[in-house]
Symmetry: C2
Subunit: 134 residues, 2 copies
């Protein structure tokens, strides 16, 4: 078991940043309870999220910060920020603009269910991606 989060430390220092200076973040819809997506934040993304009240992440593939919804309009308004017991993961409770977090037009990015020995898309597409990204 890793060391418990130090509640006396300044909040950004209390987190267990990984070797890349990132912390994994789970976004959950505050109303539906659906887990929407999983991403990372660096310190600046977390500070900006805190300051603006809208989720900003760090893209490992594009190596830059991105505001969720910058292209799609599917902004996440942050209602609460939670840390886990050892401070190495965050949970964001969000109000998901448009009710869609996934680039495929589904509510949640976790739309593949394990069925037999294959992954199968089991959630409905709520909006055609062509109508989201134009």
């Amino acid at each position: 078991m890793a060391r418990d989060l130090d509640t006396e430390a300044p909040w950004l220092d209390a987190l267990a940043w990984n070797r890349d200076g990132l912390v994994p973040v789970i976004a959950q819809d505050a109303k539906s309870g659906r887990v929407l997506m999983f991403a990372f934040m660096d310190r600046a993304a977390l500070e900006e999220t805190m300051r603006s009240g809208e989720a900003v992440y760090w893209s490992r593939s594009r190596k830059r910060r991105w505001k969720k919804g910058e292209d799609s309009g599917h902004v996440q308004k942050v209602r609460d920020i939670r840390a886990d017991c050892d401070g190495d993961a965050l949970l964001l409770l969000v109000e998901q603009e448009g009710g869609i977090a996934c680039h495929t037009g589904r509510e949640s990015c976790f739309h593949f269910g394990l069925r037999g020995a294959r992954w199968q898309a089991v959630d409905p597409v709520l909006k055609d991606p062509k109508d989201i990204y134009r």
Copy 2:
């Protein structure tokens, strides 16, 4: 945006294992909807989870697999396994034995809320850890 998960590939190969051969896993209570914990699995842990129907994780600090609940009895019965759109994270929907996932005796490991500039434990302790681990 990383490549989408290949639904034609065998399920274990379809996942985007990280450079340590692990995949991050979110456990969510299937009934209460609470996000319970965040951990990692290696291939063997995921196979064992699938085979046994009870969550087995990989501990990065102890460098070994551990069955959730092996000491506490707080086993997680797996009701569904989900993958996200690019296959680099898993979501487990579980029935949490005892209704307690955290070693502090709370329902969820995400019990620290950001209050002002400090993290504060905001969820009740349901059972004294001394009575969980003896």
